[in-house]
Symmetry: C2
Subunit: 107 residues, 2 copies
DNA sequence: TCGATATATGATTATATAGTCATATATCGA
DNA sequence: TCGATATATGACTATATAATCATATATCGA
């Protein structure tokens, strides 16, 4: 695989961890500083900081400094689209597994 | 976070690994048996089988048996949409990093 | 039945990851 | 200056992951 494929995997990996998903969800309404993020998602400051750095390094988040505070925001709107699409998969799978088979197409 | 959120992370994690991305890409044109998949992606049969089982367990792939062969296919069209959206992020990031270096980096 | 083919899995190893605690660094205000 | 606040990071641990080799299981045809 090319390095672009590894980058593709890295982008998706940035979105495939519960704590990071909590962060991204909290950033749906715009940028927030670390001091707002970690209490909102109920994680340690250090752990939150690591995940924020991870996502910023991988191009998922933007970082803006204002005084002593660092504000993070989701850099690409596709991030939310991806998560919403994954949510649709989860919903359909949950339905399939619970026996509620919804027929929107032949199958 | 609820178990649904863990499931969301699991779905995305299923799509965030280079070997699995190779498999999914090979399945873009429809179902294939394991004996076709592992030579096409140039991975060992056992490793390929593990990743296929992983994705089937997590609701990403469907499995169909025909004689001695097992055919796998991508179960939800959203899988391809997700990967294509991630590809757009990669492309935009690559452009940002190569050409239009907007700001001075840390240093 | 035997042997060839197709797939899955146990055991193992190396590496990656997430999380914690303690601490370092940076900024600001008094 | 000092002290409070905000963020990042080093060291560490426990767990997860991907890959490999060997082998088990299943199906089919001769």
């Amino acid at each position: 695989m090319s390095s672009a494929d590894h980058y593709l995997a890295d982008v998706l990996k940035s979105l495939s961890q519960p704590t990071r998903l909590k962060i991204i969800d909290f950033l749906r309404n715009g940028e927030r500083c670390v001091c707002e993020i970690f209490p909102a998602i109920d994680e340690e400051q250090s752990n939150t900081s690591r995940h924020l750095s991870y996502m910023q390094t991988h191009g998922i988040l933007s970082r803006r400094k204002e005084g002593v505070k660092i504000f993070y925001s989701v850099k690409h709107p596709e991030v939310f689209e991806i998560i919403d699409l994954a949510g649709r998969i989860v919903q359909r799978e949950t339905e399939l597994r619970s026996g509620v088979v919804k027929e929107s197409r032949r199958g």
